[in-house]
């Protein structure tokens, strides 16, 4: 009961703040709603007993990336930006992408297994006692099963980081 109520609260919050984030004219307000959406998603992670994902979402996206976003937004002169037309009008592209996405989701919902008695298809979560400790499980799969992919991704990120530093450096 409580689980369901919490899920609908978080999901509704995520969707509503996502919509608000796109429609606000003021960039700082958009950023605040993006933070809300990210936090609501983190809440859903927590409800799925993925504590590690929850806290990584908060530390990385909310505490790191969004702070940098707001930092940049505040450096831009908002009074000038408010008077410009900020909304890209690509109706047809947006429509096609939205249709493709909803088709994908619909296919997934339709083809996944349904719990008898309830119409909604859900992936049944195993009870908490059967799960291995969450951060240990993530570490096992990252540094055990998918070590090569993990290392490739980190090398890519390092290259991007060094590239950014080189490009930002002034010419002498």
């Amino acid at each position: 009961m409580l689980d369901k109520v919490l899920f609908y609260i978080f999901a509704g919050l995520a969707i509503a703040s996502g919509a608000l984030m796109v429609t606000r004219r003021n960039a700082v307000h958009s950023a605040i709603f993006l933070v809300t959406a990210l936090l609501a998603t983190a809440g859903i992670f927590l409800q799925l007993r993925a504590e590690f994902l929850f806290i990584v979402q908060i530390i990385l996206y909310v505490g790191g990336i969004m702070v940098l976003f707001i930092f940049v937004i505040m450096l831009v002169n908002l009074d000038v930006a408010l008077q410009q037309i900020q909304f890209a009008r690509q109706k047809w592209v947006a429509l096609i992408v939205a249709l493709a996405l909803s088709a994908q989701f619909g296919l997934m919902l339709w083809s996944s297994e349904k719990i008898p008695g309830q119409g909604i298809p859900v992936l049944a979560a195993p009870p908490a006692s059967e799960l291995p400790a969450n951060s240990e499980a993530v570490a096992q799969s990252l540094f055990g099963n998918y070590l090569l992919a993990f290392e490739i991704a980190s090398v890519l990120l390092l290259v991007a980081m060094i590239g950014a530093v080189v490009m930002a450096k002034k010419e002498k």
């Binding site: 009961m1 409580l2 109520v5 003021n26 700082v28 307000h29 605040i32 933070v35 504590e51 590690f52 929850f54 806290i55 908060i58 530390i59 909310v62 505490g63 790191g64 969004m66 702070v67 940098l68 707001i70 930092f71 505040m74 450096l75 400790a133 969450n134 951060s135």
Partner: protein, 450 residues
């Protein structure tokens, strides 16, 4: 429908009454504690500057925090005309909310913890308390004032830079335990019989510096540097909103000190918790309280008015009661099961207070940094040092496990690791001085050439 809701609420309360109660206690008591931390800070500052500090309200200014709180509550609440009203309202609440929420993960002694045994323990505390930055940044932006904006820009830059160093320092500490769970971290220190500050001193030092920067305390209080920015991001806030920021700042101090205490200073453990020879240390907490009570009684006749004498007596009585509570688990066999909870709480609070005292001491001793010095210290010194430290601590642990070392003999491998890290630190400093010397020469020669 109504019945179902009531039923669900009752079930919820039945399951979670204990953490809810703990949370209520924290929200109710914390402002009082913060008020008294401020009083201690003012008294210490006065002492170090050869003054008396607050003396008027209550004996030795003991009621000053309450008077301050009342003053702040009844002050006029001003919102600037051109401010972004909603964000202006939201910002202080965000700061306080994040700070209070992060306390939920902390364990004040083995018995008092709101969110018990969460798997991500220390990450939760660090991550949630870092969200308080939004309060500062948004508050500074919403005030629509240049000083506030400068303050919040500085603050966000400072926090993002020092969080990396603090995180890396925490990683080197966590390598020693292999768990994020707060209870398990302290138990690991109990089992090893040694606090992790001995095994990873460099990591502790990095965390100390980075935590001062993260809480915006002097010498890193550039976001509110009053000689340059009036009051930084708090310039336009008054009355209760301002006091919310203040509450958040001091709560954050408590949070970072608690994290350091848990990970490096042995949490709620007594010094030498496993050595029976040092069992007499159990009598130190009650004796300390009795000493404070005796001092209060000694000072009572010297108070100027009857009310103040009574108040002093009340303080002495409170200390005696605390001494009895602390003495009971040691002296009475019946109260033995309460030992861990009561004495654990005492030692935890004692260590956190010592850490906060060190913060204050630094504040009165060291002058404020310049912003470019702050950035250079963070990016060119602390972050490289912390990365190197993670590396050498990891190597030391592997060597230690190869020779099957535990407890104090771990020092055989971690001390060389710390020395290597220190040598690297000196090398970084030397390199930095060389490059800055080169920089200072270059524009000067340009200037003369022009």
């Amino acid at each position: 429908m109504m019945q179902a809701v009531i039923q669900a609420t009752m079930d919820f309360l039945k399951l979670y009454w204990a953490p809810l109660l703990c949370g209520l206690v924290i929200v109710a008591v914390l402002p009082l504690i913060v008020g008294y931390i401020v009083l201690v800070e003012r008294k210490l500052m006065a002492d170090m500057q050869a003054r008396l500090g607050p003396m008027r309200v209550g004996p030795h200014g003991l009621l000053q925090p309450i008077a301050d709180a009342v003053k702040l509550l009844i002050k006029e609440d001003i919102i600037p005309d051109n401010a972004d009203k909603l964000v202006f309202w939201l910002a202080p609440v965000l700061s306080v909310g994040a700070a209070l929420l992060s306390i939920a993960g902390l364990a004040i002694g083995p018995a008092f913890q709101i969110a018990k045994d969460i798997n991500i323990g220390i990450l939760f505390v660090v991550g949630v308390s870092a969200m308080g930055i939004f309060g500062i940044v948004l508050g500074g932006w919403a005030s629509n004032s240049h000083y506030s904006l400068m303050g919040s820009l500085r603050s966000s830059a400072q926090l993002v830079s020092y969080e990396t160093a603090a995180g890396m320092a925490l990683v080197s500490g966590l390598l020693l335990t292999g768990t994020l769970n707060i209870k398990a971290i302290v138990e690991a220190q109990y089992n090893e019989g040694i606090w992790f500050v001995m095994l990873a001193p460099v990591a502790f030092f990095i965390y100390l510096v980075a935590s001062i920067a993260e809480t915006n305390r002097a010498p890193f209080d550039l976001p509110e540097a009053e000689s340059e920015l009036v009051a930084g991001y708090m310039t336009e806030f008054s009355g209760f909103r301002w006091s919310l920021y203040f509450l958040a700042e001091y709560t954050n101090m408590i949070v970072v000190s608690s994290v350091a205490t848990t990970l490096f200073l042995g949490g709620w453990l007594r010094p030498f918790a496993r050595v029976h020879f040092f069992n007499f240390l159990d009598y130190v907490p009650p004796l300390l309280m009795i000493g404070v009570a005796g001092y209060c009684l000694l000072r009572t006749p010297k108070q100027p008015s009857r009310v103040q004498q009574l108040f002093m007596l009340a303080v002495a009585g409170l200390c005696l009661a605390l001494a009895l509570v602390l003495l009971a688990p040691v002296a009475l066999p019946i109260a033995k099961p309460l030992y861990a909870g009561i004495h654990g709480g005492f030692w935890f609070i004692f260590k956190v207070s010592a850490y906060i005292y060190f913060f204050m001491w630094l504040r009165f001793t060291i002058p404020r940094y310049r912003f470019d010095q702050l950035m250079r210290l963070g990016w060119q010194f602390l972050i490289p040092l912390s990365i190197v430290n993670v590396l050498v601590v990891g190597v030391a642990l592997i060597v230690g496990s190869y020779f099957n070392l535990h407890g104090w003999s771990m020092l055989l491998v971690t001390t060389p690791a710390a020395i290597i890290a220190l040598v690297v630190a000196l090398m970084i400093l030397a390199a930095g001085q060389q490059s800055s010397a080169g920089k200072e020469n270059a524009p000067a020669s340009d200037f003369y050439a022009g």
